[in-house]
């Protein structure tokens, strides 16, 4: 069971989940716990010989009932591949799975915020290579969504809507557009190739999205990840986070569904580290300019299309 301690100096919760030290660490393909259970083989987390998408409660949870939840979302029964290489119909189905987990976990009394995310690549600490993401259902409102609510108040309305309008008017940092979706490197991106993928219409969460928006969101995410992989001609590490409205009564204002990517690479083979200024002062020092990153990424997305 995890323990929450409140860090007074930072004004934030810290989660102690010491049992996670024992979690499976970079197993071989033969011992992958996210693969299907093959006849005669060792049992895995999914007791089927084949499946499309699977969700299960994490064996090493950071949160668990009655204080939240931690789940694993397995995108495919194939050990190889990525979000980008899923068939379009599978990627679209994944959006519905995200929506279902948001609805179900968000309806629980102990859950205040539902975070769907994917860590890709050992450079961001992934411990299983099989294509998958995770869901954390927090028993409190974490700092980042709280900051987004503050941004709504500061801008006098939905902040993602206002920022999207600015990016569409400027145009220099846009990397992808469809009828329902726009993606851009933010004006004040913290990471060299940070991208926000935003539903154009104001939608608080995936529950509010039309089917066509979910289909278009899946297409946008796949196009972006293909572009990332083309940028340095190698699998591109990233942290991908789905931002949606808080679900608890204390956070029922605000929220606009969008997906943020935080890639740690600042150039091919060069990592951006969170060092003195980032950790000690909370101020990012960037080595790149968002407009130039966006131009490079636009080219890579076009190349990979």
């Amino acid at each position: 069971m995890s323990e929450l301690r409140f860090n007074e100096l930072r004004g934030e919760q810290v989660v102690y989940a010491v049992h996670r030290q024992e979690r499976t660490f970079l197993p071989s393909h033969e011992h992958c716990p996210l693969c299907p259970t093959r006849p005669g083989g060792s049992p895995t987390e999914i007791p089927r010989v084949a499946f499309e998408i699977a969700v299960f409660e994490n064996l090493f949870p950071a949160f668990e009932a009655p204080h939240g939840a931690a789940e694993v979302i397995v995108y495919t029964d194939s050990h190889e591949g990525s979000l980008a290489t899923l068939a379009p119909q599978r990627a679209e189905a994944l959006m519905w799975v995200w929506r279902h987990r948001y609805a179900e976990l968000g309806a629980r009394e102990d859950v205040h915020y539902v975070l769907i995310f994917e860590n890709r690549g050992v450079k961001v600490g992934v411990t299983l290579h099989h294509p998958h993401g995770q869901v954390y259902a927090y028993p409190f409102l974490p700092p980042v969504p709280e900051l987004e609510l503050q941004a709504d108040r500061r801008l006098g309305g939905c902040a993602p809507c206002a920022l999207l309008r600015r990016e569409l008017e400027d145009g220099r940092r846009l990397v992808y557009q469809s009828q329902q979706i726009a993606a851009y490197v933010p004006h004040a991106a913290r990471w060299a190739y940070e991208v926000h993928v935003v539903v154009r219409e104001h939608r608080a969460s995936l529950l509010d999205c039309e089917a066509a928006e979910l289909r278009s969101l899946a297409g946008a995410l796949q196009a972006l990840v293909r572009g990332y992989d083309a940028l340095f001609d190698a699998p591109f590490p990233y942290v991908m986070v789905v931002h949606q409205a808080p679900v608890a009564a204390d956070g029922m204002l605000g929220g606009h569904v969008h997906v943020e990517f935080y890639p740690p690479l600042r150039a091919a083979g060069k990592l951006k580290y969170l060092a003195g200024s980032e950790q000690g002062a909370g101020t990012f020092i960037a080595d790149t300019v968002p407009e130039e990153s966006a131009a490079a990424l636009r080219g890579a997305i076009a190349l990979a299309a």
Binding site: E52, A54, V97, R99, H100, G106, A204, L207
Partner: protein
């Protein structure tokens, strides 16, 4: 039916999104559906929940 949002009262949410008091074992259900996805609920041997999702097969014309 009005579109469901995080503001929608739990009592008005679609099946599968009911507010469940924490600590209460989930109800075993099978073949729910959300959009184009069929939802199959299972329980692993150690008690953890497992949900399998698959795209619904549209009937042949």
């Amino acid at each position: 039916m009005a579109r469901e949002t995080p503001h929608t009262p739990a009592s008005e949410r679609r099946p599968g999104a009911q507010r469940v008091p924490h600590g209460q074992p989930g109800e075993e259900r099978s073949d729910e559906r959300m959009g184009p996805v069929v939802i199959e609920r299972l329980r692993k041997a150690d008690g953890r929940a497992l949900i399998l999702y698959r795209r619904a097969r549209e009937p042949q014309q």
